[in-house]
Symmetry: C2
Subunit: 139 residues, 2 copies
Amino acid sequence: MNNRELDKKLSLRKIKPTAVRELVLKVLTEEKKAVSLSDLEHKFDYADKSTLYRTLKTFEEKKLIHSIDDGSGTLKYAVCHDSCECNPNDLHVHFYCTRCKQTFCLNEVSIPTVNLPVGFSLESVTMVVKGVCSNCRKG
Amino acid sequence: MNNRELDKKLSLRKIKPTAVRELVLKVLTEEKKAVSLSDLEHKFDYADKSTLYRTLKTFEEKKLIHSIDDGSGTLKYAVCHDSCECNPNDLHVHFYCTRCKQTFCLNEVSIPTVNLPVGFSLESVTMVVKGVCSNCRKG
DNA sequence: AGGGTAATTGCAACCGGGTTGCATTACAAA
DNA sequence: TTTGTAATGCAACCCGGTTGCAATTACCCT
Ligand SMILES: [Mn+2]
Ligand SMILES: [Mn+2]
Ligand SMILES: [Zn+2]
Ligand SMILES: [Zn+2]
């Protein structure tokens, strides 16, 4: 994905394009797996941790990406689809592979509705499946 | 719940009853909400953090309690029902109230099955609903 | 182009939950 | 009572995440 496309994606979410932001977004779009802050730190020796951190926070705030708490203790991030507003109906299941330790968006698997006890209201739902991914299965 | 009953619960899970363990289990059984390590620290000024930590780990290992990652950054714990083996079919949904910041087991709400893409195998599933609990709703 | 302002970035230090090594204490078998 | 094992207490550590502040850069107006 070239800079022109990256800048467009950023602008669509009202994020001012900068060098770091283009690079981070590039990584996030090209990775098939969800990406952590420390992943980015290792990818960009030159960029500072807090800059990367704030970049992710900005992206998340503007709904360019969403965060994934897969229970591993390290937050991961993945790009939202263009029309995503991170509403309950935009949510999907996430998968954590216990073998390769990678986390994936199952974008095509939406979260089933759940009947809460009376008196409980719902704001959002997270669903994480742990298991072995198809790559590790084959290998 | 008296010590006799607490000891019985401990013995059933092959855990040697000690003073600390009885006290911790008592708190866990009497609380309606899930309990964190720091909750216990504040409840027992005298008992050491690492002792409480290892008590929880022992309980979890022996399947007397299960841990809940509600996304708040602090692990919570709650007692399992007597016949629980923490298998996928023992699992239930958890609820995190964004108002009172408490986490509850919805023991009666089992986790719906989900269709994974081909090649993915399932070991366990977590489902956390965020919203407002019935207590906070009424208040 | 130059000056002023706001946003971004870099650096360092901090925070809190969780975890571990090791010494001490309690317990129970021999 | 001796002796081995498990539990507890204390201290220090780890790491992901977060923040304050100074330096740099981008942007706007003249
Ligand atoms: Mn996702
Ligand atoms: Mn539970
Ligand atoms: Zn895998
Ligand atoms: Zn509540």
